[in-house]
């Protein structure tokens, strides 16, 4: 349906690409700073500075973001939190990407009864209160770092599977797939060599949208004390510590909370923008 005139569409598109580059740029900058700058700080994430307990952000003792109630440097800890948060999100999204793409591509390509059963399973799983199952998982298996990746990845693959399946349904009608089938290429090989590579565009868009979800789940778990364990930290764990000190040391809450929101916002803008551009090209 044509809702917007071509002129405003072009303007909209320019605005969307500007948003994409701004949010992408901020994310890259945050990641680089979080990885590089802690090396330059004289402090590390463990050492306690007894002369500067709950110090406000400033230059005293090179505590740019101040210190926490144990006198640990919050700048280094926040940067470490960003690293952990981004790492968990990326690995978890990768897990969900692998599961979702394979599942969706198989269901879509094989079709028929297999497809019906596989998608029925997805529908059933959709209605599960996954976050609570993950909490249960964390309780039962002692907050294993690896498990956090897998658990979050295992939640997020459902959307991916649905989208990939839809895309595969139209891809499998293409001539080159028919040609491959005609020359006797096996089904797994067609899926891996002909279907999956052509899904990359849409997959990238939706991965960008699953990353903020993964970040949310990880920080939610860490906030509840069920995720990353001390002395390691993540943005969610830092916010949790900040909540307890908010009256004496507002920066302990505001800095990691603000950065978490900024990162999430950038990923949301990026994903939304990419989807807009992609869909605009898909349905002219």
């Amino acid at each position: 349906m044509i809702t917007i005139s071509t002129a405003s569409n072009a303007i909209g598109r320019a605005r969307v690409s500007r948003l994409i580059s701004i949010s992408g740029g901020i994310l890259v900058a945050i990641a680089v700073i979080a990885i590089v700058v802690p090396w330059l700080s004289p402090n590390n994430y463990l050492d306690t500075d007894f002369d500067n307990i709950l110090a406000a952000p400033g230059l005293a003792g090179a505590h740019l973001f101040g210190t926490d109630d144990l006198g640990r440097d919050l700048f280094v800890r926040t940067m470490m939190g960003i690293q952990v948060t981004l790492l968990v999100a990326l690995v978890a999204s990768f897990v969900s990407l692998v599961i979702g793409v394979l599942y969706g591509a198989i269901a879509g390509y094989v079709g028929g009864r297999v497809d019906a059963v596989m998608m029925r399973i997805v529908d059933t799983l959709y209605a599960l209160p996954f976050i609570f199952i993950v909490i249960l998982l964390m309780v039962v298996f002692e907050r294993n770092f690896l498990l956090i990746f897998v658990a979050i990845g295992a939640i997020n693959w459902l959307d991916m599977a649905r989208i990939v399946r839809g895309q595969t349904l139209s891809l499998k009608e293409k001539e080159y797939v028919e040609a491959a089938r005609l020359t006797g290429v096996s089904t797994p090989r067609i899926i891996l060599r002909h279907i999956v590579p052509n899904l990359i565009g849409i997959v990238i868009v939706y991965v960008t949208l699953t990353i903020p979800q993964a970040i949310l789940v990880e920080s939610f778990l860490s906030f509840l004390g069920l995720g990353i364990q001390e002395p390691q930290t993540s943005l969610g764990a830092l916010v949790d510590a900040g909540v307890n000190q908010k009256e004496n040391a507002a920066w302990m809450l505001l800095i990691p909370g603000g950065l978490l929101a900024l990162i999430l916002m950038c990923f949301n803008f990026l994903g939304d923008g990419l989807r807009d551009l992609f869909d605009a090209r898909q349905s002219p």
């Binding site: 609570f132 920080s219 509840l224 916010v239 908010k246």
Partner: protein
């Protein structure tokens, strides 16, 4: 319609079964029992405890005992709160959580739809940009960040509203928790409404209504609102899931004695029966909400045929 509802109701049972089986198996796969502590118990006492909680039976037998009890509303004894059954704990804390949740949902629907409609009517204007910027911010700030920040500024710094639950009475103490819970949902619903309203407003029947000389209010109220509501109705299921998740955090932050609080303390205390019971209750709520949303969908859009 009745037939369809029954069919959907039956369809919800496998989902619930998956939840219960998964949760049950997970809890029983736990290394170390709920009664493990530093103190080594004499063998005889351990045996008696296991017997009392039926932990000595084979797993399938335990499972069927549990299921048949759950169906009758009995979630078993709590492992940590020795004087209470899980049913008592949930029944005691559910009303307050339900109150919070439904107020937040109401607020989210009303404000979200209003904001989204206004933005759609003035597409690409300053108003639209501002509303959408707020919506994006609302989506991006997690509940566990926005709630303490609101407390910090509105309760601690400005002292307008009470910061906690126990220190005050009356409706004022509901305000901050409900707003914190509702904000992300307001943002989502506003975005959904804007998108679907723009779509609907571009359709021919709206143009016809306008051509007949109907004012903007009448067009929205009598023609555009209903079809534009469809995506919001489908979003009700995920919305209730979001509010339940948020309530876990909000109850923690404000010290509200609701189900979410028991869930977290239960999780940290390894009170397996309590956690298992709450997961089941949450699952039932989400499945029910999805069902209700499906039925409302059909009422709003008669083109949906009940098969």
């Amino acid at each position: 319609m009745v037939k369809y509802s029954l069919r959907r109701l039956l369809g919800a049972i496998p989902t619930l079964m998956v939840v219960v089986v998964l949760a049950f198996l997970l809890v029983h796969a736990a290394p170390g029992g709920p009664f493990d502590s530093e103190r080594v118990l004499p063998e005889a006492i351990k045996e008696n405890i296991d017997k009392y909680y039926h932990l000595d039976e084979p797993l399938p037998q335990q499972f069927f005992r549990y299921i048949s009890n759950v169906v009758r509303g009995d979630f078993g004894p709590s492992y940590r709160y020795r004087d209470h059954t899980v049913t008592q704990l949930i029944a005691g804390s559910l009303p307050i959580s339900m109150l919070l949740g439904s107020l937040a949902m109401l607020l989210a629907v009303v404000v979200g739809i209003a904001a989204g409609t206004v933005a759609a009517l003035r597409q690409n204007s300053v108003v639209d940009r501002v509303v959408m910027a707020f919506a994006m911010t609302g989506i991006s700030i997690p509940v566990f960040v926005i709630a303490p920040v609101l407390v910090l500024f509105l309760a601690v710094k400005l002292q307008w509203l009470p910061a906690g639950w126990s220190g005050s009475t009356g409706a004022a103490r509901l305000l901050l928790p409900v707003i914190s819970l509702a904000l992300p949902q307001i943002a989502y619903i506003a975005r959904l409404t804007r998108a679907s309203m723009i779509d609907v407003l571009a359709s021919p029947f709206i143009r016809t209504a306008r051509a007949q000389g109907l004012g903007t209010y009448a067009v929205i109220r009598y023609h555009a609102l209903k079809p534009a509501m469809l995506p919001i109705v489908s979003y009700m299921g995920p919305a209730i899931a979001g509010i339940l998740t948020g309530s876990v955090v909000v109850e923690q932050i404000f010290g509200i004695p609701g189900v979410g609080q028991f869930f977290v303390t239960g999780a940290l205390n390894r009170d397996y029966t309590l956690v298992l019971g709450i997961v089941i209750v949450y699952a039932v709520m989400i499945v029910t909400m999805n069902l209700i949303a499906d039925l409302i969908y059909g009422v709003i859009d008669p083109r949906v045929r009940y098969r």
